[in-house]
Amino acid sequence: MSMAPRSPAKRRRPWPYPLRRVCQALPLVVVIAITNFFWLRLAPGDLADVIAGEAGAATPEFMAELRRQFGTDQPLALQFVAYLKRLVHLDLGWSFRYNESVLHLILDRLPATALLLVSALLLALLIGCAAGTLAAVSRWRAVDIAVSVLATLGFATPLFWLGLMLMVLFSAHLHWLPSGGMATLGVDTHGWARVRDIAAHMAMPVFCLAAYYLAIYARLMRASVLEIVGHDFVRTARAKGASRFRTVVSHVVPNALLPIVTMTALQFGTLFSGSVAIETVFSWPGLGQLSLDAVSSRDLNLLLGILFVSSLLVLAVNLITDLVYGWFDPRIEVQR
């Protein structure tokens, strides 16, 4: 990090950091795409089997016709070449299950998943950090214990179970919230009515998804704050006469946030998988549900497309995180 360049004269101006990172990520994307292609083929059965299975009957002609359409009657090598060709053109292919282009399907579902993920993540971050900080600096031991107990509970509760229980309580018994979907069907609402409608549908899935991550953030933040509080500069701030509140808000928290940033980036990927369960329970029309469908119906093109796009997303998030580090803590040099 602080090694001096050996001969400053020879040093060329490096590419901007983000560009370099993108170039480094490219081979990774290619490897992911290729591994996916072969790996997914290990699952026995194909889409033709699934369609025949659902039809409740099949003739060999019907199966052959299906496979001819899907192109799965071709040798694997040819299929692979075709796949690479498509990938180079950024064409994700055609989903024979849905009779729709894969890209279109993914783009259709992405906003719903993004809405769910981002809301849950923000909610978890805000409340988690606040709760963690409170637990760490509070003079009352009870607050600390309460936060820790709730965090452990949130961490240990299975997502789908929590979802179902919420649904039984708020939808089946109290009739307060809709039990699933993203909007009330059969009504064309606009403006605020629509926002309200979607918000009502979001409440339970977002809460569920947030509950788990909230617990992690709270624990992490608590530990991090406790560590920072012991540092000299905190004592100095207090000695200078900064109020307790000010010390925590302007000196402790910003320094304690760094591990949270790391964690958030790492969890973006897991959040995506967590949303499969939540999306299924709440019939949320997002990517998680789509990928589950793609797996169970062996819709290879669609599955490859989803995996490809999500690997891109994770890489992008990691890149953004690296950049955010620098912004949070100028001591970390992004240049190297």
Binding site: P60, N99, R196, M202, A203
Partner: protein, 535 residues
């Protein structure tokens, strides 16, 4: 992102007190329009039953497309697109007189050319069930736009059991001719003749149909909109039915035990009648390619060891009755009770296994084999466990294997890599459509799902099956069907375990839900909301 944060704050503010007004139990009227919310599962692959022959498609498609005929309570044909029909004296020509006031949803008139195209170019070419069922149809003549004549190579009574819209599906020729019907884009935005017009398919979410104002059957449909919601989780479906957000769920929407609970709900009806034409039959197949199962005594011993009454009660919670043969007992025209039976008798089972030379070894085990459970949910896994427990008593050790559907199909029907398996097949309204496929040696087709999986081959059985297919005299045909049941029970390549009662669940206040044998596949054109009961 301040907007996101702002949004979030507002959303949580609204979440608590939200929507009390716009969420009545059962939003049947929205802005003055009546909306019926149904459910289909899993999400269909296409919306035209002729090109996507599967239940989730059928229940949607029948609202968009009418068939030539439909069926009444006794499975007699009732006019739909065909006003009337006559059969020639030699029964080798069936003349359908078609309605002349029917238009496709895009305004094009419906004519006999559509019928000819659909039967000859699609059903007979690519439909997995219609293709064998319509084997005897050699041509469809169209002497005028409103007459279609089916020409048969020889009389084929089975056709009469396969003419409604979920079977002999009628495509709009002007949109399909010259294309590949399986990938035609109109499969996802169908143009039909039915009571409802396709409006929108928001994938993973819902399919929306609206009233067809020009429907030939005046006064129908009786609701303005019909929405099929996609709800992947069974518990969520149950909640949606209980709080009234979904009013009609035809495809066995919840687990069996949950259904028993919902039966107690005063606002819901759990009904099995609409499934009678599908007639699902649950059975256990032996892989007869293995020498140890070729001894009929072994198969009979296994049959004696399974208590089918208990299976129906304990595993299927009464949503099944013990089967006595491959034809369901409620199909009175075809069923015979006069077949070899294997009542529950573990002692007899052990004696048979001893006779077959399978004695208990040091650890008390006579025979070990695996069993591939049917893949449609935990009810079938429980059935496998039940069989495992029962067979353990007679010294047979069963290893249960749970695959997902594609793996299961591949193992059973392509690789034949299994010892025993269980499955249900629809017997359908005529045994020729759904039953003979389990026993016909010509239906041992590697790679074809739900074919003759046991590999059972019998010249005697083949002769009987071919008689069923070609016999013109109804009485002699029925005799052959009876004979099929006798041979099936005598040779026992497959143990018929239970007649399953699939069910649909719907709101009690729905009026005129079709309860004929094809109920689940029938249009909801006549369904309306009755006086709202207490919710």
């Amino acid at each position: 992102m301040p907007t996101r944060r702002e949004f979030l704050v507002k959303s949580s503010a609204f979440a608590g007190a939200s929507l009390l007004a716009s969420l009545p139990a059962g939003a049947q009227t929205v802005n003055g329009a009546s909306v019926l919310v149904a459910n289909t599962l899993p999400e269909p692959a296409g919306l035209a039953a002729g090109s996507t022959p599967a239940n989730p498609t059928n229940v949607v498609s029948s609202n968009l497309f009418d068939g030539l005929i439909t069926y009444d309570e006794n499975f007699r044909p009732v006019p739909q697109l065909a006003r009337s029909w006559t059969e020639s004296a030699d029964r080798r020509a069936i003349t359908f007189k078609l309605r002349d006031d029917v238009k496709w949803h895009d305004g094009t008139p419906f004519t006999s050319a559509d019928v000819q195209y659909s039967i000859m170019e699609v059903s007979k070419k690519v439909h997995p069930i219609a293709r064998p069922t319509f084997a005897q149809i050699v041509a469809v003549d169209t002497p005028d736009p409103h007459t279609a004549v089916f020409r048969l190579a020889q009389p084929s009574p089975v056709i009469w059991a396969y003419l409604d819209t979920s079977s002999a599906f009628i495509f709009p020729k002007h949109l399909y001719a010259g294309t590949d019907p399986l990938t035609n884009p109109y499969n996802a935005k169908p143009v039909g003749t039915g009571a409802f017009v396709f409006k929108e398919w928001n994938r993973g979410n819902y399919i929306r149909l609206v009233k067809n104002p020009d429907y030939w059957d005046k006064g129908k449909p009786r609701v303005d909109e019909l929405i099929f919601r996609i709800i992947p989780d069974a518990s969520a479906r149950s909640v949606a039915l209980q709080n009234g957000t979904v009013q009609y769920a035809p495809l066995t929407p919840v687990s069996l035990i949950e259904a028993r609970r919902l039966e107690q709900n005063p606002n819901l009806i759990v009904d099995s009648k609409g499934w009678r034409s599908n007639a699902p039959m649950f059975f256990m197949d032996f892989n007869l390619r293995q020498k140890r199962f070729q001894d009929v005594r072994v198969r009979r011993a296994i049959a004696h060891a399974i208590n089918t009454k208990q299976l129906a009660q304990a595993v299927f919670y009464g949503f099944a009755t013990p089967a006595t043969g491959p034809v369901p007992s409620y199909q009175k025209n075809f069923y015979t009770a006069d077949t070899p039976q294997y009542p529950y008798d573990p002692a007899r089972a052990e004696a048979l296994l001893d006779e077959a030379g399978l004695h208990r070894d040091a650890s008390g085990v006579r025979l070990r084999f695996n069993h591939l459970n049917h893949t449609y949910g935990e009810d079938y896994q429980r059935a496998g466990m039940f069989i495992q427990q029962q067979l353990k008593r007679i010294g047979v050790e069963v290893t249960l294997v749970n695959y997902d559907l594609p793996t299961y199909l591949r193992k059973v029907f392509t690789e034949h890599d299994f010892d025993t398996m269980s499955a249900f097949y629809a017997a359908f309204a005529d045994p020729q459509i759904g039953v003979i496929r389990r026993y016909w040696s010509k239906n041992i087709i590697a790679g074809a799902a739900w074919s003759n999986g046991s590999g059972y081959t019998s010249a005697e059985m083949d002769t009987v099956i071919e008689t069923i297919q070609s016999e013109q005299d109804p009485q002699r045909r029925t005799d052959a069907i009876h004979q099929l049941q006798v041979i099936a029970q005598r040779d026992l390549p497959s143990i018929n375990l239970g007649e399953l009662k699939f069910f649909r669940i719907y709101a009690k206040r729905l009026e005129n839900v079709n309860t004929t044998p094809i109920g689940v596949y029938a249009s909801l054109d006549d369904v309306a909301f009755g006086a709202a009961s207490a919710t």
